[in-house]
């Protein structure tokens, strides 16, 4: 998985980088030290996962996350911050996780495990856009997903 780390503190970035290497399976493609740089790197590199600090000079993490959310499909965002009080504001930009500093390996692992787990809503939404076949039984109009058809 391709990862971008955004934090204004170099040691905080290298900590996340080291922990991710330790876990394996994650490739840190770039690091950014402020919001603008993060947006620019995201546009260039298209990472799958972005770790975002919230308090940064310039555009803060919440604004960056909101901006990233406009992409189609957007990268998953995990906030890494020292402040528990931003959780509510963060929730509104729909992050995949919220890590509190100092970041521990266990917390990071749990957060990454939850990542990308699709819910029933997720599945239903996918069904909504999928091609369907309409048919009629008696007077009743019914439809079925093409993917759910059995071919005999």
């Amino acid at each position: 998985m391709r990862v971008l780390i955004v934090d204004d503190e170099p040691l905080a970035r290298s900590r996340l980088c080291r922990l991710l290497t330790q876990l394996g399976g994650y490739q840190v493609v770039a690091e950014a030290e402020n919001g603008q740089q993060a947006l620019q790197l995201c546009a260039e590199l298209n990472p799958d996962l972005v770790f975002l600090d919230i308090e940064m000079p310039g555009a803060d993490g919440l604004r960056v996350a909101a901006e990233l959310g406009k992409n189609e499909p957007p990268p998953a965002v995990i906030f890494a911050t020292a402040h528990p009080q931003h959780a509510l504001a963060a929730y509104q930009v729909a992050p995949a996780g919220y890590l509190l500093k100092p970041v521990g390996l266990d917390a990071l692992q749990q957060c990454l495990q939850r990542l990308g787990v699709s819910t029933r809503v997720h599945l239903e939404k996918q069904k909504a856009g999928a091609p369907r076949l309409s048919f009629r039984i008696g007077l009743e109009q019914r439809s079925i997903l093409l993917s759910e058809l059995f071919y005999l």
């Binding site: 204004d8 905080a12 000079p57 020292a82």
Partner: protein
């Protein structure tokens, strides 16, 4: 400079000015609760003591006990209505400044004395007491005595309020210092940094934890006074932690002479000033910034200047200005008006100038245990 930046800075100035205005506690909370039975009892006992004092004056021929009885009667007749009025009006004190309250108290006392005095004179004359004398002379005596007692009362009240303010400032200083250390941004980011350093540079990690420990210890003892040198060391340790966090973004120009005078200042005076400098001048900017600390020794004062670049608008501001107001108060308690803390603004930088008197007599230990 953008308009937003200017707005943020003028906001900061307003904050500074607001904090410069002294008592943050409303007046009605500073004065004793006049409706409480304990206070009433204490004041009645004081009034009785005053009556005994007046009765004991030598050279008066009238019999002691009857004299004491009459004086007590008079004193309590003034005291009890006065207490009642104070109790009733206590809720409305919010609107008055302390000097206005003092005048109000004096006026009430004199009015009550005038009233009770008039009645007393009539009573004394009708009962044929020899000491009554001329009405106006009697009234003048009574009013003069009331005035003096009132002035003594106001003096006692002032002492009481000052003591309360001092205790309040001290308690607040401890709380502020603790909260400032436990400010999640500083504490948890520092710990995060230290956690990373344990792998890459264990020596630095050790140093960071020791620095953090000394700052916490100082915050727990922020009611003590330390030497200027010790406080500078604490500030240095704080900056070392911030430099680990912010690295090249925080540049330091530390101009402090090797020989420092042995003057005492309240513990953690300098660190919050530098913390403000870091928060406003460094953390809000992506590009590196320089914090300059210059200490100059004069003949009768030490002056310390802290300068930081003007930052951008602070995204999540907390009550940082509180620290400045509090430092001012703590310095005032220790040095009176001899220590000054003023903000110096310029186009692209923000500075604070702290002046401390060199003379030892200014720093009296009473404010700080």
């Amino acid at each position: 400079m953008s308009r937003r930046q200017r707005g943020a800075n003028s906001q900061r100035v307003a904050e500074l000015q607001r904090n410069a205005a002294a008592p943050r506690m409303p007046v009605e909370q500073l004065l004793p609760e006049f409706c409480r039975s304990g206070t009433v009892l204490r004041i009645i006992i004081l009034a009785q003591a005053l009556a005994i004092l007046l009765a004991l004056v030598p050279g008066v021929t009238a019999e002691f006990w009857s004299r004491l009885g009459l004086i007590s009667l008079f004193v309590h007749w003034v005291t009890l209505p006065l207490l009642t009025l104070l109790c009733v009006f206590q809720r409305r004190w919010r609107q008055f400044s302390p000097p206005a309250l003092a005048w109000l108290f004096l006026l009430l006392l004199l009015l009550l004395s005038l009233l009770v005095g008039t009645f007393a004179h009539q009573f004394l004359q009708s009962s044929g007491w020899p000491g009554a004398g001329d009405y106006y002379a009697f009234l003048l005596q009574v009013l003069l005595m009331s005035l003096l007692v009132g002035v003594i009362g106001i003096q006692l009240g002032t002492l009481y309020v000052q003591q309360r303010l001092r205790l309040d400032a001290q308690a607040r200083a401890e709380l502020d210092a603790l909260q400032a250390r436990i400010r999640p941004h500083f504490l948890f980011n520092s710990l995060n940094t230290a956690a990373e350093l344990t792998h890459s540079q264990p020596d630095l990690a050790e140093q960071a934890l020791l620095d953090l420990a000394s700052l916490f210890r100082a915050a727990l003892h922020s009611d003590t006074a330390v030497t200027l040198e010790e406080d500078l060391l604490l500030a240095r340790r704080y900056l070392a932690l911030e430099q680990l966090r912010l690295q090249h973004r925080l540049q330091l120009d530390w101009q402090v002479p090797a020989q420092l005078p042995q003057i005492k200042i309240p513990c953690l005076t300098l660190q919050p000033l530098l913390e403000n400098a870091v928060r406003h001048g460094i953390e809000t900017r992506s590009e590196p910034g320089l914090i300059r600390l210059v200490l100059t020794l004069g003949t009768d004062a030490v002056s310390l200047q802290i300068e930081n670049p003007r930052g951008q608008n602070l995204p999540h501001s907390g009550g940082n200005g509180i620290a400045l107001g509090n430092i001012r108060r703590r310095l005032e308690l220790m040095y009176g008006d001899k220590a000054r803390l003023v903000a110096v603004m310029s186009e692209d930088s923000y500075g604070l100038k702290l002046t401390l008197p060199l003379a030892e007599e200014g720093a009296d230990a009473r404010a700080h245990r």
